[in-house]
Symmetry: C2
Subunit: 372 residues, 2 copies
């Protein structure tokens, strides 16, 4: 194998793939390596952790085709430090030599024969979405997905095509304590037979890494796999088999109290109140006074002290009260756009809703902490 390419192009490609190497649950040394494949006018860089695989192409002048695997982190770090100029690569046995104007290096690799085969996805369904729209939707949902894998179906986001006729995709995340739902437009009408699927949160975190700015993402589905194609990069992952809970029934309908508050002030107040919550319960009490147009936030820990804040709020409906875990409140408020935030409450026993005032297609639901 012999090729040359620009440092900048190679560095970009490596930054896309390297992160995945070394993230496998198994400790196979080959999974710390990336596979370099020099072929017909480009260099392909591949990394996998056996659950997710990423491949990207880098423009290169290929003198002799070939393959080698080399330690991902070392190679990425080394290339990052070189100046942006033409770099010349050549393999001799299981070693790659790198030459630039002022530097030369040799890095020991492992035969490409040992690198896992990245399965091809047999596309049965396909849809297209604008990269920025997908990125934004993932940022607003995946934080609420369970990090535990005890309930496998909750360790991923639901991609639901319940409105295919209007080219809508709904992305849902939950850890059973809170839930996010975001509806986005897709660029084509998927077939009527397209099924909902659950994509692992770790896969979606990698998808977030590869989407930079403009450009569409092609999402191809097979029975057990999903393929994301964005520019020169392809990301393959398993999907989660399982039944996603019927989450729609948890979204309260008979709202009794609606409040509109300034987001930043509310967030600061919740943070201040968080210091006085009970350890492991993290309970913050919200009281809605309709006539006074006030939201009262309070917390109490008999060991530490207590806190009470009165915020002005536009309140419609009846007086109400609910207790939330402050962490879930902070997560939701942090991910919400707009200067104001809407709160919708039924009672202290029913999930409460946090809504964006600028994005009608997003909702965040928090289970209440029930009073003793």
């Amino acid at each position: 194998m012999k090729f040359s390419c620009l440092q900048e192009n190679l560095s970009q490609g490596l930054n896309t793939c390297t992160h995945l190497a070394g993230t496998s649950r198994t400790s196979l040394p080959i999974l710390n390596n990336i596979l370099l494949t020099a072929q017909k006018g480009f260099l392909k860089i591949s990394a996998t952790n056996l659950e997710i695989a990423i491949e990207t192409k880098v423009r290169a002048k290929i003198e002799k085709e070939g393959k080698i695997t080399i330690p991902a982190q070392l190679f990425n770090n080394y290339i990052d430090l070189l100046p942006n100029e033409a770099l010349n690569f050549e393999t001799i046995k299981e070693e790659i030599s790198i030459k630039s104007k002022k530097q030369s290096a040799k890095i020991k690799g492992i035969s490409s024969d040992e690198f896992p085969i990245i399965p091809l996805v047999e596309t049965k369904e396909k849809f297209l979405i604008e990269g920025i729209i997908l990125k934004n939707a993932l940022e607003k949902t995946i934080f609420s997905i369970s990090s535990s894998e005890v309930r496998a179906e909750l360790s991923g986001a639901l991609f639901s095509f319940n409105k295919p006729e209007v080219n809508k995709l709904t992305i849902v995340g939950t850890d059973s304590y809170r839930l996010t739902e975001k509806e986005v437009s897709i660029k084509n009408t998927p077939s009527k037979t397209i099924k909902n699927l659950i994509i692992p949160v770790k896969t979606l975190q990698e998808v977030l890494r590869i989407i930079k700015d403009e450009g569409d993402v092609d999402i191809c589905l097979s029975e057990n796999q999903v393929l994301f194609v964005y520019k020169e990069t392809e990301l393959t992952s398993r999907v989660i088999n399982g039944e996603y809970p019927d989450y729609k029934q948890t979204i309260p309908q008979a709202i009794r109290t609606k409040a509109l508050v300034k987001k930043e002030e509310f967030l600061r107040t919740v943070k201040a109140a968080s210091f006085f919550t009970k350890l492991g319960i993290n309970d913050i009490n919200l009281k809605f006074l309709a006539k006074e147009n006030q939201l009262i936030i309070s917390s109490l820990n008999s060991q530490i002290g207590e806190n009470k804040a009165i915020l002005p709020a536009e309140i419609a409906g009846e007086n109400n009260e609910i207790v939330f875990n402050y962490r879930y409140l902070i997560d939701g408020l942090t991910n919400l756009s707009g200067d104001e935030v809407g709160l919708e409450i039924v009672n202290d026993d029913t999930p409460g809703l946090i809504k964006s005032t600028t994005d009608k297609h997003y909702l965040y639901l928090i289970m209440p902490i029930k009073n003793n």
Copy 2:
């Protein structure tokens, strides 16, 4: 105790002191607290870890004098989140209440009787230095001080008054593998009897935190203690008893090779070479070719690979070669000002010098790794 003050002023004072609370080697709960003392027109905030104490004053309207200790981190975090407005404080037994426009809180404290007494320094000698000059000198020296306390005398910086007649102070740091020396001007002529002293590196890290910008630092010395006074803040610390090594003799005089190289390029090259050094030895070979005006940087790890870079350098003197630990090189280069850096070498057996081209009063010395 009853007082009021502006959130901004209190927050500044707390940020100066809070860090020290909770850093004690002992786990006395009172040391996680700060002492608030309301007296004659100001609020005093004190924190100590029994080795270092910091006290600062905040402008406040005192209605009733008094003292209380409260959890430092909690109080600081809570005050930081309040808007900049007048805050009203009042103690009831061992609890403090805080009231602002929209919020009220109560925090449980501990009686001030349990707070350690901060010793007064009986000043025997005193000198004055510009804050920025002290800050700069400490930043360039304390990184080289030993983090181990096996040799107590190396766990601090030497403050040496070897040129009192010209108002000079020399600050020295070493961990016995490398050494820094920085000479600075002081603003007065200390008495002839002033003795050198060793100040713990942890104390100097705290001093760095309190110096913000303009303003002088008063340094007062007693037999066993040192007091730094900067604006409204006083920092008291023990000094280290012990004999500082006679470091002057390790500074090589009979330099055989001098080289001048571009700093950023050299630093990047050392970082790139660092990936190929032997684990635990971190050895990078520097070769000076006088006729060619080249500095050759190389490293080799038979498990990983090898690296060689040729940098242009202005070389005076003879050909030479030396092996350094790359970490010490990176530390030194990172702390050096100017676009270029000077290297001065005797041979592969004698410490090498790294010099700033913009600061004649600073030197950095590295022990070589000797060839087998």
